[in-house]
Amino acid sequence: MATIAANNIGVMEPERSAVVIPRAGMAQSAAGTGACAPAHSETQAASKPGADTTMDHKRQIKQFVLKNYLFTDDDSALADGDSLIRSGTIDSTGMLELIFHIEETWKLKVADEEMVPANFETIDAIAAFVARKLAA
């Protein structure tokens, strides 16, 4: 299957030092809803509501998406303007998990009517949405 792999979209090689799993069975949630998701706790630790800039929001949101949906630290794996939905990066349950993460991290509430592509289609759109919500 080497031919196919070579033709695939760039092979992502996350850093080997990422998360070393213990030999004893420890389950982890792919989407970071579990208590032991490192990306989740890192972003929470870095977030100080009110002190963030839009760039910080963007960086944090992107890290969460890279870590939990693309399983990589490689920033180039996703452009800020790429559609998360059309590209298949995030599906319906993934979107719920992302919204939950945003609500938890910035202590805000995303209303149903705010769950629209204009606010969640891209990393850029999500960062702008979070900034608007925090400014309100």
Binding site: I4, A5, Q28, F71, D91, T93, L96, V116, F120
Partner: protein
């Protein structure tokens, strides 16, 4: 020409201006749909596609996917609808195995392109420009061809579609459905749902799965209206569409209804036009079904059961029987016989659990180019071995109680553990892997992998997941990964997936 394509042409005479499809901002009536189908069929002929040759479609739900399907039938070709979320490692064996003469895919689909480039000879390609902002249809280049004259009717057992249900590097499994299969199943469903030209639905079920295909074909055969929504990422937007379009029906799998009930305040939308709901694709928890019926009380809920090998549908539960027969998937649909057999192959007494068999005009012709595999499920007497376990009560109602196979049902998808295990096993640091489905409140099941890593392996779960992400459709990526020191095995050394799965259930409870 196929009966379904014939029906489309008939609607042009009886209701040319009635809307057939809505896809985003595009609305298309039956006359225009028929015209586009003729145009595409002529293009297929111009490109040399002959009767019986395979036309593979790698397309998300769209007007183009519908046009290409019906055009292939009008050109007497065989449609091979492939899962548009799949990866190159799936497409290549499917395209090779089906012997696809032509592939229709979106310009942006790099996996489709990679798979096609690996084939020799390469199939011809028609591209859909998915970046096109507007326009009627988005073919990048469609060769102009002479209009197809009304062809002779095709033989009833002529092949209409090959539907791949699983199998990547191992053994592609292509369900062969004839025009007669499709016709029989569509007519049965139209009968018990009472579908007519005044009906309409919003659909999110992919046309490349049998459930989604049955929703599409029943509505077009009935002259009804089908509104295409791509996904449930923004569930309340889909409900807004249902209300705005005043649709009369809606079809989903259990996770669809769980998302709607949990995430959308359904009471805030005017859904009074909904006269029915259908549910298939795995058992729905009784509590969820009860909530659904309370949330949309005027809509009759049809619980259904079937499989791709039976075109789509085998059984339906009349809504009036829902309270009397809790947990049942219903009675055989018109024209179908259902039987439960014991381990000796004898017909089981009412109430006795055994394997479910089915016979009827919707039962497949077999697996494409695999007579040996066909013989394992399809008898010469026409009875299909479904692989599902269950019993039939004294009134003839079927109840399911699991499957003989390890197939995982997650959302609307079916995943064979082998597909995921093969990919994970490619990693050097993986010594052994077993994949099972574990219960999930919304999706029914999610995928969990147990991995025995090589000693001293400096391994991250992310590396395993990133590897899967590159090679598998997103829904096949394990949600949970657990490192294990060893995996349970049978005396012959086969991994006991069922034991791993049942251990999970015990830990949950």
């Amino acid at each position: 020409m196929s009966w379904l394509a014939e029906r489309l042409a008939e609607h042009v005479h009886t209701q040319p201006e009635r809307t057939a499809l809505v896809d985003g901002e595009r609305r298309i009536d039956y006359a225009a749909l028929d015209e586009h189908v003729n145009e595409f069929a002529a293009a297929l002929r111009t490109l040399g596609v002959q009767a019986g040759e395979r036309v593979a479609l790698i397309l998300p739900n769209s007007i183009e996917a519908v046009v290409a399907t019906y055009a292939a039938w009008r050109a007497d070709a065989v449609v091979v609808p492939l899962n548009a979320q799949a990866k190159a490692r799936d497409f290549e064996p499917w395209l090779r195995h089906s012997g696809a003469r032509l592939v229709v895919h979106e310009v942006s689909n790099r996996d489709a392109r990679a798979a096609i480039e690996a084939l020799d000879p390469r199939p011809q390609v028609i591209l859909v420009d998915d970046a096109a902002a507007r326009g009627s249809l988005r073919w990048q280049v469609l060769p102009a061809g002479a209009r197809i004259e009304r062809p002779m009717p095709v033989a009833a057992d002529a092949l209409a579609a090959i539907v791949y249900t699983s199998g990547t590097t191992g053994q592609p499994k292509g369900v062969m459905l004839s025009h007669a299969n499709l016709t029989a199943n569509v007519q049965s469903i139209i009968t018990y749902l009472g579908l007519g030209a005044d009906d309409s639905t919003v659909t999110i079920l992919p046309f490349y799965y049998s459930y989604g295909a049955s929703v599409l074909h029943t509505h077009l055969a009935a002259g009804a209206r089908l509104v295409i929504e791509q996904n449930l990422v923004f569930p309340h937007l889909m409900v807004e569409t249902m209300a705005r379009e005043r649709v009369s029906g809606f079809s989903g799998v259990p996770s669809t209804f769980a998302l709607l009930l949990n995430r959308v305040r359904l009471g805030e939308y005017d859904l009074s036009s909904l006269r029915y709901l259908t549910q298939a694709g795995g058992a729905m928890a009784p509590a969820l079904a009860t909530r659904l019926r309370a949330a949309i009380p005027q809509a009759r809920l049809f619980v259904m059961y079937g499989q791709t090998e039976a075109t789509a549908r085998l059984a339906w539960l009349p809504p009036e029987c829902f309270d009397d027969k809790p947990g049942a998937v219903g009675v055989a649909i018109p024209g179908v016989e259902l039987e439960v057999r014991d381990e000796h192959g004898a017909s089981a007494a009412p109430g006795t659990v055994g394997e479910v068999y089915a016979r009827g005009p919707n039962v497949m012709q077999g697996y494409w180019r695999d007579a040996a595999l066909t013989a394992t499920v399809l008898g010469t007497d026409g009875w299909l071995r479904t692989g599902d376990m269950g019993h039939i009560d004294a009134d003839g109602f079927l109840y399911l109680s699991g499957r003989r196979s390890d197939m995982i049902k997650t959302g609307a998808h079916r995943v064979h553990p082998n597909d995921v295990e093969e990919v994970i096993a490619e990693l050097d640091e993986v010594e052994e892997v077993a994949v099972v489905g574990v219960d999930d409140d919304v999706l029914g099941q999610v995928i969990k992998a147990f991995i025995v890593f090589a000693d001293d392996a400096d391994t991250s779960i992310d590396r395993v997941k990133a590897h899967c992400r590159e090679r598998l459709a997103a829904y096949k990526i394990p949600k949970f990964i657990e490192a294990a020191t060893e995996l349970p095995k049978t005396a012959s050394g086969k991994i006991r997936r069922s034991l791993l799965a049942s251990n999970e259930r015990r830990e949950d409870s």
